[in-house]
Symmetry: C2
Subunit: 327 residues, 2 copies
DNA sequence: TTGTACGCGTTATCAC
DNA sequence: GTGATAACGCGTACAA
């Protein structure tokens, strides 16, 4: 592959001059510039970023660590990050941790070796004791879709989202409630859901049940029929993400329960799944493009130092999208 | 960030010795080795891959260019590639072209600048005239999930898959057939489907219809009801991918047509969608992990030169998975 | 305006 | 067994 020195030899100038022409910072004779650019064009010269980085201390790389690219929500996030990064001249080195903290740690080391300019991360946890090493990582970093206090982050307000879902389900006449998902980790939508139920006067012990993700298949139908048979009160189900909601809908329908007549259900993420499912799935929208845009923007600010030295805590409003599954 | 020279100063040896210790190629005094390793550990020294690459001409990077990470099938492909690459010491620079040939071309240049060791690519076309520039790209490359003649590739045999679907649908009693998807681009499943229908004696003009992806919403129901009302013969529908199949199923059900009684339907890709939909969706499985493994394996062979100089054309067998939607 | 010379952090080839 | 020293491809201060 042709180098600057190669171009220099071909055009009869020095390598430094070629560098000047390409960087454009310094004045160069018009004829020289033209001659060099012509040759650069003809040879399809591509600068060696590895060398640039060594000399100039910049790699134009963002590291991206996510918990699961297979999840369409994260896939869309990555897609949007790529979009914004590349339109700002940055490329992405991507790692998938599959919710494995060991892999996450080893990937952080790999990214150090590449001297990436910045890091966007969806960590496997949001506990401070776990995140504090990250605060000393030494490279600008923004946490996406996870609410952390000690680092810059961009999140949707899950607590409020949970509250809105609770209010919405109550309004549609639900008297009993189920939350499907992991209650105690990473996110606040479950707690928000409960909090609002309490405020509205429901009894958490009697009127509310949590079903863990892995138990859905075995527990959901029996839970719902038990609840419903009890006094034929409509049940409101809030599910932590659209995939799981889709699965839940299918299970509910398999057992002959009617949606939304007997059971109203709301998902989370507003992926294409919620649009395409029947009944169309009510869900909470996360503004993916905005999340990506803010994360990338902030990261660039941090890299360029054009920002005050405080941690940013960008909280976006969730948006309830009501469709057929909860009407 | 600490460098080799830094470690050298801290331990009172030369930078060359540190390099030897870390590479392990040359003999080093046991005490020296211990001292150096201790310091390396303590400082969490991470070698600068940019510098390694300049000196040693290796970046341990794979470029990955896909048409759409948002598509769960490609997301899973990327995930599997990441898995195999990283267990072989390679990291991934990923680009999303969104089916845009201009972006694809510009990304190819960017990857040149990073001097990636190899490239795995899902191109936006499989026409030779379009692909031929790639053959001269100058970096080892493997094409994934797209059948090309002039480059190394790993694909599932779409033509055979189409044939199998046709036979299966005919066996379940279908007399009329619909293919939903783009017929003339990139893939052979549509042609395979038709070919087999012909062989079985169906009339392509009378018994067979193609519906383009964008027309599904408007055309599908009318086409099916017209076909069915005609003489109440069961219709077999083959859809180019699971997402589109999901959408089709919902549309069909909305119009009161029964699956699989009146219409049998088969998707493609065997994503989680096909497992979770109701009725459970029959589909063609693409062995994602195998595709990724073969692509990465071949790429490493090409990079290390441990291979004969012929283009590899790895064709994997499709696998029909029969579920409720076509029983 | 242009060329020379040095440094970035490695690897690899020499001598000692 | 170990320490200088020359690349690798680029940016840049300095000199001309």
């Amino acid at each position: 592959m042709i180098t600057m020195t190669g171009i220099a030899k071909l055009t009869g100038v020095s390598q430094a001059t070629v560098s000047r022409v390409l960087s454009g910072n310094t004045a160069v004779d018009a004829r020289t510039r033209h001659k060099v650019l012509e040759c650069v064009e003809k040879c399809n010269y591509q600068p060696n970023i590895m060398a640039q980085s060594l000399a100039g201390n910049k790699t134009f790389l963002f590291g991206v660590i996510v918990t699961d690219i297979g999840n369409p929500f994260f896939a869309e996030i990555v897609k949007a990050i790529e979009e914004h990064a590349s339109s700002n001249g940055y490329s992405l080195i991507i790692f998938n941790t599959q919710y494995d903290k060991t892999r996450e740690k080893s990937y952080l080391d790999v990214l150090k070796r590449y001297r990436v300019d910045g890091l966007i991360m969806v960590p496997d946890s949001n506990e401070d004791e776990y995140l504090s090493p990250l605060a000393n990582y030494g490279t600008p970093m923004v946490i996406a879709t996870r609410d952390v206090s000690i680092l810059d982050c961009v999140v949707v307000d899950h607590f409020t989202a949970g509250q809105e879902v609770a209010k919405h389900l109550a309004q549609t006449g639900c008297k009993k409630f189920v939350y499907i998902g992991d209650m105690h980790v990473r996110e606040d939508k479950g707690p928000g859901f409960i909090s609002s139920l309490k405020t509205m006067g429901f009894a958490i012990n009697d009127d509310f049940t949590v079903i863990e993700e892995k138990e859905v298949e075995h527990t959901l139908t029996t839970t719902l029929t038990a609840k419903f048979n009890c006094n034929e009160q409509k049940i409101g189900v809030f599910v932590g993400n659209d995939i799981l909601a889709m699965e839940s809908v299918q299970i509910i329908q398999d057992s002959g329960i009617e949606i939304p007549k007997e059971v109203a259900i709301v998902g989370f993420d507003n992926t294409y799944i919620s649009r395409m499912l029947r009944p169309r799935l009510s869900t909470i929208e996360q503004p993916i493009d905005q999340i990506a845009s803010l994360a990338v923007g902030r990261l660039i600010e941090l890299i360029e130092g054009t920002t005050v030295d405080r941690t940013m805590h960008q909280v976006l409003a969730p948006k309830l999208i009501v469709r057929d599954s909860s009407k």
